[in-house]
Subunit: 242 residues, 6 copies
């Protein structure tokens, strides 16, 4: 069985990140030279949930008998089973199905095992099954579509823990994913601490700026970005312990 | 006026089916040689509702003056009026508009009559009107889109109770439709009892398997599909009256 | 700063319109020779809200360095800032981005200023940012998509208060917009009073017709459209003070 | 075997029509109250050919075992065979497949029989097979796509000589179709003579107007539409026997 | 009448550019900070033609009666007529129709006048009419689609010589456009000379590199980009007068 | 450098296959349990060419700085260079770019090297550059689109000689590809001889059947599929040495 990749040290990082809006993170990543980290067109199936964890990547290809033979040798119980069983707390399944929504990748039975394993979420560029049940199971799931048919009629799992594409973003195994109502942003591991710290600072400042704006006295161009006067007010605000 | 097609004998069948998830039904139909019975891309307008009933099919074509003349002869009050008035408890309108979402097929006034007639639901591969009202009327409605304009500006009803296509599935008049949050699955009449019984058995077993998984002891490949040991546990579980 | 365009006289008009369903308004506009006033494919981000106000139009084009230079001369703080700051109570931002959903047009900080200015809503044929926050801010927002990246990476604001296209409809500055769960309909100013009055009459009558239908005695073709007998009942109903 | 629908009297009509550009015909039909007669998105597979003839309509639905049984009873050799064998000189097969391009409707063997029968063309809203061969067989074919797989894996022929939709246009059996490099326009039978005569007049005049323009002296607004002076010149031109 | 914008000095520039492949130009523009100058998804209607000239921009919006009134005041004979009549040798019409392909923007009669005026080409993000004729008229035309219906049924010309979007690129009036079989690239005026000179140098070198490769001795990584040895050979090649 | 995979023994196989239409091959593969081997939506850039050879697969993902670093370690000169340089006579590059058409995968300089190496063709599910030149170079190229910008602005080559997806088909390294005007079909190596032999037999028989049909005496249902009488005629035809 795979060793956990979410280490004790991740706890604090994940806690920081889970307080951030994905737009803040996206903006910071752009500033760090990573402008294309938002997974587009793959919304959550339920609102008002945050997702944070590490990517465990899976690649599915269109079925073809000889390819299925190859897959059976590599993953005797199937790739999905393998990935679910390998999972540790904080793992997020990231599915690259080539965008195929003509069958459903995963259903409630397997997901119940994934939850037991501590899985933190699923991001699927295809479709899921059992949407009626999954949306009540408490696991953050992002998917391009839903479909009642089993995935085996269209797809075969053939690649595991390799770079994949999902919603137009390259995802590497171990990447940190942050999700909210708007979708998912992909954070390269080596940038995660930096992103978390800058993100908290940005959101702290934006909270202040919104308060300034809501007082209704200052026009937008004085506040966003803040001019010197507003910056001073912000310094004062921080000194007061906010 | 048309005679009812939902017979007293249907009551029990419909009750059984309404307890099933459409994915279960889809899987059973695939096993019976019907792999393409899920109506894709046509979600419900409200969640947490089940729909079960029999298809009453309607076909609409792009407007054209001489075709409208023909339609007027066949359906003096229009096809939608005709179908609504023919409806009996348990009927579901299935609309094949060629996927046209540039006008809305039906609005709240006509739907209020359909509800009085006992209509069980609507499945439309085009758009509906009055979405703001319809979503509060308690009728299960599945639709590809919404549009504020009346359908007469684009479409004319010309075919009734004939085979149609809806969401990529051929639907025959009298087919049994089951809908939940995930969409709609089309059950051929002659398979319905078999599907209902197998479906109940499948879901009973899957409920048990999920309980096994949730105990967290067994890995997924022992449980789904169940190995001999788990099957024995399941037999014991059934003997205990579950 | 721009002068307000929503005049005191608008209050009554807006109150009338806000009682109407957009389908009613769409039907009346079609009768007046304006068949294409429904903004298609741009749903609200939150349900159960009404939006009514006047269009303030903005046009964005794909970024290009020399075009950005031109834009900076015209709108030193950017077009979005300019429009938000110009806004008066009852203004609705209407964004023509050429349908680009690869970046988010506006986020929560600027929207908080727009709310302070009395903004009545936003209609965007592209994407918005900060969806997780915006959907809790109480402002009606209609958008084609969401995206975490800032709009500046794709778009530059270059046209203001000019005719634009949004969701397939031409929108003129000052047009009156009415939005509900189904979307937005665009009302030319010179027709607004007429539309409001006819709309109230139509909905009053349709409410009555639905009551007739819900009694379950009359078939749909006697009621919708109403035959003479039903019309007489309606006259009586009105005489009774309904 | 079906009786021919292209009558001797059609010869002259077809000759006239084959001299026209489909845009001319489209414009005249719009003037006669038929604004939507152009089959959109279905180009020819070879250029520099004219097609004129009468529609023989076919409808295909997604495969489904019990529907295939029904089809076998109605068309023991299959619908395509039936239609090809019924065909007479001047017939055009018009295929409504619901826009399915995942399999090829017809191949070179059947087409060779259709040519022997005198078939005048094929218009298909799905895909054809054997494109490499068909494009050299001399028959005008308009199709949305090509696909190497046989249609039986996706579609079953179930409707014949009924109103169908093709490229967004309702086509009735017996309609006259005119095709050129730009696509196909559908002419209702009862308007065909009128359309042919007006079309010849329109093109005669436009030829003259182009000659006027090509002289380079008159600006476009004097010529198109022609002012009184140009109209006089045109009368003179006609008097000279052009 | 508008004054010509293609000046005598342009002749040499245009001659240079017409010798270049658009990919070369696209690469050079990317190096100059303009990475998005290729008009995507708008191919030529005929192959083996080069187009070079200056943009004359037109913007069309969806029809709406009151907007049509405004348009009539601004352009009494219509925007297309106005633009054609204003044209001088070397002008290229660039049409922003919001991507509408449901009607044809221009037909053979108007184009014949445009050719007389010296028009150098048309780039249309919608559809054209009279494709059967236009493809034989010798004018380079790039279009997203074809449609037989007149544009007036969908669109009204409302903006002239303003920044527009076409195929995802912002086009300014006076921009230089270069087109070949692959499509069109948009060159800002102030960069044109630089682009032409660098382009000639690039293609001269690439011709040499292809010759080196075609000798079959050197592997690709020595040649493209060239290593020092190959660069020396190239210097020698140039010294020999190539 | 990679060893050649097209062996001397392939010469005869390739010769046989190159005489076949891809539809014939597709039908035979379906009969052998491989129904989905046609690469859909990826047409050739030039007509009247046959392509036959073995797949050399490449996978590209969206650019991302740290992924580009990884790629540089694996393929110091880039994946495209590597694959071209590895190529032997009969190799076909099969590109899986996730369907990205926003940049051009390959241009004329690299292709000239690929031709020198004996490359037999290219199949690309994205876009190519230098279409104007490539279409005159004599190499069969199948591509979803064209784009003037270099691929590096969107994609990075990260996977080589692994299973990929192209046009909805799984392609394995070494698969045999056959292409004609209609597109490309993927033949698993272990089936190739069988496919070639059956294909020749099928086409031989279909040629005969077309001759029978072209005589005009027999209806289609006697000939396709052939009844006993026609089968006898065919046996006779073969005995005569055809």
């Amino acid at each position: 069985m795979a060793t956990p990749r979410v280490t004790p040290g991740d706890a604090e990082l994940f806690k920081k990140l889970s307080g951030l809006c994905i737009d803040t993170v996206s903006g910071i990543l752009m500033g760090l030279g990573f402008p294309d980290q938002y997974i587009a067109g793959i919304p959550p199936i339920t609102l008002d949930m945050k997702m944070v964890g590490r990517a465990r990547t899976l690649r599915y290809l269109p079925i073809r008998p000889d390819l299925s033979e190859q897959a059976k040798h590599k993953y005797p119980c199937g790739l999905t089973h393998r990935a679910v069983e390998d999972s540790h707390p904080g793992d997020i399944l990231v599915v690259d199905s080539g965008g195929c929504t003509e069958s459903g990748f995963i259903g409630d039975v397997i997901v119940s095992r994934f939850i037991v394993r501590g899985g933190a979420g699923i991001v699927c560029d295809g479709a899921i099954r059992d949407y009626s049940i999954l949306r009540h199971m408490g696991l953050p799931i992002y998917t391009k579509g839903v479909h009642a048919a089993v995935s085996q009629r269209r797809l075969i799992g053939i690649g595991y823990e390799m770079p994949v594409v999902c919603g137009g973003v390259s995802v590497l195994p171990g990447d940190i994913l942050l999700g909210d109502d708007e979708g998912v942003v992909v954070i390269p591991t080596h940038l995660a601490d930096q992103v978390a710290d800058r993100g908290l600072a940005t959101e702290h400042r934006e909270t202040f700026l919104r308060q300034v704006l809501e007082r209704g006295v200052r026009p937008i161009h004085e506040v966003y970005p803040p001019n010197e006067e507003v910056l001073k007010e912000y310094e004062e605000y921080k000194r007061q312990g906010h």
